[in-house]
């Protein structure tokens, strides 16, 4: 066994051992290795699936920080595995950099700048049907600025009136204005500052990793979100893989379930092989299988068989499901090995004749 290929931590421990102890350690290490042909995927599926049945089904609990509601338990696990683009409640944990992390005032100032404020949050809007007017009243400075520009008025007043020809135009205008952002970061609904181990941390409901990472005073190294798709978009596929592992492990740990992290790592690896985050299921990994029979055995049977017939697909019978369907030994464990024939009996004659020449 080549000792250089061992993980560093194991090598270090080995260096401290001597004689028979060392021998036994290596032997046990070899025994613990996964052998070629082992059905790691099936074992992973069962190892995550069985504890999953023990999980509470409805746990929309308030986790970690008091006021934030995060889906936990099975719903959250399903969300991770299904690679949902927008989780039901995303949360960001924003750390401040070295310089500002103990500054409560700074944290609170930053937090107030984060929260997304729409025009409808600070204005009172109504449509005067009779006079065909949109009346907007506000006391907010930023809102006033925007409205001033829009209406072209110079006076510093709290009431703005927009006139339009038809009512439908007014309605359109109102809808547009209501969604206008006056300050903050898109997607961030609520903000909290909490003291966490000697430093101030900002928690937000709703998340927008890309914009937050570009802010000044934010620790760009530790700040994260629980929205895996946003992590994929801003930090890349490897970060998404790490996020999947972390989030899944967190859910399982919270429920007191002890699942070996290797199983979760395998799932995360499979979800990210193609360079983008794929769901497990018919839209993702299972639907992208090469074998027609395996896909048909899973979900949407008719669709796959029909398409296979139309396009003339060929099944090489390399996988497990397809071989079970046709009643052959499956290529797992000892079944991975195929029979190979040496040239010997067939080419012996020819070789002899060649030698004679």
């Amino acid at each position: 066994m080549n000792l250089d290929e061992l993980p560093k931590s194991i090598r270090e421990r080995l260096n401290e051992m001597k004689g028979s102890e060392r021998k036994r350690f290596i032997e046990n290490y070899k025994k613990a290795l996964v052998v070629p042909g082992e059905a790691v995927g099936t074992v992973a599926a069962q190892s995550i699936g069985e504890p999953g049945t023990q999980m509470t089904l409805r746990t929309f609990h308030y986790a970690g920080v008091a006021e934030l509601s995060v889906p936990l338990g099975l719903p959250r696990l399903i969300e991770i595995i299904d690679a949902k683009k927008t989780p039901t409640n995303s949360i960001m944990t924003i750390f401040l950099n070295e310089k500002h992390k103990k500054d409560k005032e700074y944290a609170e100032k930053l937090a107030s700048r984060l929260q997304e404020r729409l025009l409808s949050d600070v204005c009172d809007m109504r449509i005067d049907v009779q006079n065909r007017e949109l009346i907007i009243e506000t006391r907010d400075k930023d809102a006033k600025k925007i409205l001033k520009k829009l209406t072209g008025s110079e006076e510093n007043k709290e009431k703005f009136i927009i006139k339009k020809e038809s009512l439908s135009e007014l309605k359109k205008m109102k809808n547009k204005l209501e969604k206008k952002k006056i300050r903050g970061i898109k997607g961030i609904k609520r903000v909290f500052v909490r003291k966490n181990n000697d430093e101030y941390v900002i928690y937000t409901e709703g998340s927008n990793l890309k914009s937050v990472l570009n802010l000044e005073g934010v620790d760009k190294f530790r700040t994260t979100t629980n929205d895996i798709f946003q992590i994929y978009e801003t930090l890349g596929i490897e970060a998404a893989r790490n996020a999947i592992i972390e989030e899944a492990k967190k859910v399982l740990d919270e429920q007191g379930l002890d699942v070996d992290i290797r199983h979760i790592m395998l799932v995360a690896d499979q979800m990210t092989v193609t360079g983008e985050v794929q769901a497990v299921g018919r839209t993702g990994i299972s639907g992208a299988k090469e074998s027609v029979l395996a896909r048909a055995a899973f979900e949407e049977t008719e669709k796959h068989i029909l398409n296979a017939a139309i396009y003339g697909e060929v099944d090489n019978l390399d996988g497990v499901a397809e071989n079970i369907i046709i009643g052959q030994p499956i290529p797992l464990g000892t079944g991975t090995v195929e029979l190979a024939i040496k040239e010997f009996p067939f080419n012996l004659e020819r070789r002899k004749s060649r030698k004679k020449k």
């Binding site: 993980p7 194991i10 760009k220 978009e233 930090l235 890349g236 490897e238 193609t274 360079g275 983008e276």
Partner: protein
């Protein structure tokens, strides 16, 4: 960009890439992929077909090395 979640990405030289493919007896189509537009490759000069060596911190083995081939996208 440096972030807790992003492990180290490096481009393999041509010789190293060939050696790797030979060692595992695979073609470039058979190893995991990474998109050319991936944010983790932003500061690097990569071409489609390059192999990226990723040095992960693994909870089970300390350091784990992973390879991905750059694809269009």
């Amino acid at each position: 960009m440096r972030h807790r979640l992003v492990p180290r990405h490096e481009v393999l030289s041509k010789e190293e890439a060939e050696k790797l493919l030979k060692f595992y007896n695979v073609t470039k189509n058979e190893i995991p992929r990474i998109k050319k537009t991936d944010p983790a490759l932003k500061d690097m000069d990569v071409k489609v077909g390059d192999i990226i060596k990723i040095t992960r911190e693994s909870p089970t083995s300390g350091v784990a090395i992973y390879y991905r081939v750059v694809i269009e996208g």
